[in-house]
Point group: D2
Chain length 307, copies 4
């Protein structure tokens, strides 16, 4: 069975699952998204793409953007970054303040909200202001996607900010511990714009290609991370990519991957391919319900887990 | 031995303790206060006052103001207030976010910071804007003190706001749970102004008189709380008035009392007197070190604990 | 209205409440107790007793026994006891391990289970073996009751031990921190026997008399605690006597008191009287539902709160 | 550079690190082990072994035994096992009770102590008594090692039990939640015997071979787990194998691995080899200090991480 057939098989078997779970509803802009949509797209190292479903439909990548800002910050700060954020699974929901308080404002990893806020804050510090930082983040995402049209959705970003009290709380708590450098309001607003980037499954699978190829885009030959950084980003995706269900995901799927509440998941098979899946309905951990199942079926069918 | 002699005895025995502990140093305006100062002042129900030490020296009443805003909110909302704040000791430091998160944004009691912020927020809601709310709080404190000159210190309030990130975090966390009604910035700023009210020990002991007399000022005959409300305010002072050392304080002193990081403590002996003590140096729980000892000596010498 | 009339009034108004809540059901021996029973009994300093309801019916005093063992341990160890147990409200359910772990095996107060286990353990250390310790505890309870017939219920004690896994967990956790001196099994078994002491409401109100009279039994003139110790026991009863509803109880009732899951409550009005109330059905905090209401009505009607 | 040269290089560069950290000292039997020892041994799928250092010196495998009992329990119970233990990283120290209490007695994963105790308890239930269960565990370890002489150290097991109060606390807590089936004392004692199994680095690397080959011993052809189970065991080793430093380990080393406080680590490179390393001195997370560094150097030198 070739990849295209496998994807089509998965699409068929996953269809009944699309109505289960529920779409993220904490902001109106996300709550409106129709449940029964699905797309899955893989891009091989030579650029070949196999896709199924609504592969050109744009969705909000949300927390998947954290992988890209983490890459960027790692480029800039290298080991220095770890004074401000760890690489340890949290054992707590994605937006918990408990652990952050016990651990003196140092977030456990760059993929929980507190950690991602610190990463964005560090980029704003480096680029001196939040507009330039956002511009650089967008440029980076366009570069790894080899697609200059990628942008964010103003309405979603605005809507998030309106309901963003908990993220403001996280940032102020870190600030009280001296682990936040810029204006909380400006940084959180930049963070929400980065989360509001929209991509299609096809675009997202293309964007992840550098992570499947040791940091170098195999088509454009641009280097986005060193080999060692790439392995480490993948490791953090595996241990921390699905909030408090990261262990479950590693157990069932066995791939480094990052999910977003928009229903997208980016998964990497090192040296083989980049995979994007999208199905807006979420399980109780905030990860795409059908997307997770589709990836599990994919690794089962292809035997391509990292374990 | 009469009260004056007892106070002078206490002053003498407490003097060596004044240099122990350390002055609140999280804001410059408080850090500058000289350690070796002390004042103790009692006001009996008939208005007689006995005082010792720097009794006319103004200090920042800080959290003691929470007793007054709580009284005010109880007047306005009665039982409805308890939907937004409890009356249970917290078992945690005064500014902890942990419990607040586990308990869905409902602070344990009105004397931890989160609870006091909710109380101030409720007053802003009632008085429609934060300036009017502040005006009403000041008027109330002037009324209970029978002294129209009481005011707050702008510099202290401004300084607090500059270092107020954790309080902003608390307020945003409560807002994310739907337990905060007004602008976080405006409410927190009002809260810091209320905390920056300055009073002398003599003024403070006069201000507490209504709590020693079932809610009615025994001199002016004005009613500031019902008998039942007064008993309950005193009960909350006893169980929650000294943060995570409330049990210790009840154990050693045995009086309803509220401390502030400015080094003041207001203590009530129901039906007998109101006591204010001030010594700026704090113990590790953030309560006046020498002030606590002075009160313990007072109840030991007079046998006037409530137990 | 005299005391007898007040008690009868309370009995009448409390009756409809007797069916609310539910009887402790974690052990068969307690689950069998009939819900709709009630007794209230007050003993004045001169020995006069007023009672209403099933005043001679024996019930399991359970955690109320902790007041008596705490008194005993305080007699023996004085301040040394506080190296092993605090006097601070816990802000957590009565049998929580969380706080105990964070605080290195030192229980917050002698009235949560961990604290009471440490107190019993300290008595076993002092009396060298668990039988002698139990004997001394029983003798003490007989002495304060002026009633040599007081005993414990073997069946209840056995039943508790069978379902006592969490208490064993608490004791082993303290042992792992070096805060438990004797065999865990033996100490926990002694503790359950002490909890299984049965008394009638009339007997219990008589037993508490020393706490209303500065430590000295006003009838037999025996001293069971110093004045200072007595005040402190009362203070701990007020701040910690009703688990994680101690603040609520202080707020509504305003008296030092200790509850047990058998449905009993012992309350003290310093210098006035000792009160016992019994109603087996519990509220969600594990305290007697109707008993709490009865005490609230009593302090409202008599104005006899300590605040 | 061939494997033997790589190992020798590592040995050389790791030597100065052997004196850092400290040997497990909670029991005398482990505290006595000399710090400056080191062994590293790899076994390829065809059975070829490369070793360096004290490769035949036996050490206490301690928590590494949890991998083997987990394999065994997965064989027996399959998915049913997950009703009693999860596969999620804990975000807490290995022996914490906090999370266990919040999560109603269901341990986060089989590699923290609580989870391993439940696994051993499940084996005792299956084999009806603790002697037979221990026998079966030993037989299993002998089978995967292809070495019938493997045994446990009575003295270490006895010593652990003497200082095993916290594990008894964990087991009793789980029992109180209904998640423990056999006598706590007997199960904990069996658990300590399993932890006291001694192996040399060479033996341990041989024992892990089935995990590098999809569950089947490539030499004896015996199947110890299905392919799917094997991938999942490896996934749990990656996400949970190093207590609260699992993320760090994945980040720096990038291999599924399990450490023990005896200083051993078993690491798996799927489809390539099994690695054992031993260096008794531990880092602050309780994992072998030099062992972790040796493995990091190994994956850096060979490029053989899974990411």
């Amino acid at each position: 069975m070739n990849y295209q057939e496998i994807l089509e098989d998965i699409y068929k078997s996953i269809k009944p699952e699309l109505k289960r779970g529920k779409v993220a509803d904490y902001i109106p802009a996300l709550a409106r998204v129709k449940k029964e949509q699905f797309a899955m797209s893989i891009t091989l190292l030579d650029g070949t793409n196999y896709s199924v479903g609504d592969v050109d439909k744009k969705f909000s990548i949300q927390s998947i953007s954290k992988v890209f800002t983490f890459t960027k910050a790692l480029n800039i700060y290298s080991k220095e970054l770890y004074k401000r954020v760890g690489v340890e699974p949290s054992g707590n929901p994605f937006n918990s303040l408990v652990q952050l308080e016990y651990e003196n404002g140092i977030p456990r990893n760059p993929f929980i909200n507190a950690g991602a806020l610190v990463v964005t804050d560090s980029l704003i510090s480096y680029y001196k202001d939040e507009y330039r930082a956002l511009e650089k983040i967008l440029t980076f995402v366009r570069d790894i996607s080899n697609n200059s049209s990628i942008d964010f959705d103003e309405e979603v970003a605005k809507s998030e900010l309106e309901y963003g009290d908990r993220n403001l709380a996280l940032a102020y708590l870190m600030k009280s511990f001296g682990n936040f450098e810029n204006s909380v309001e400006k940084s959180v607003s930049t963070y929400f714009k980065q989360c509001a980037i929209t991509m299609s499954a096809k675009e997202l699978s293309r964007a992840g290609l550098y992570l499947a190829n040791g940091g170098v885009d195999p088509i454009t030959k641009k280097e986005f991370a060193t080999l060692s950084q790439t392995k480490r980003i993948n490791a953090v995706m595996l241990t921390c990519g699905h909030y408090d269900a990261s262990g479950e995901f590693a157990y069932h799927v066995g791939l480094p991957a990052k999910s977003g509440v928009g229903g997208g998941i980016l998964a990497i098979i090192p040296n083989v391919m980049s995979i994007a899946v999208w199905a807006p309905s979420l399980n109780r951990y905030g990860n795409s319900h059908a997307g997770t199942l589709a990836l599990e079926e994919f690794t089962t069918k292809t035997g391509l887990s990292i374990f």
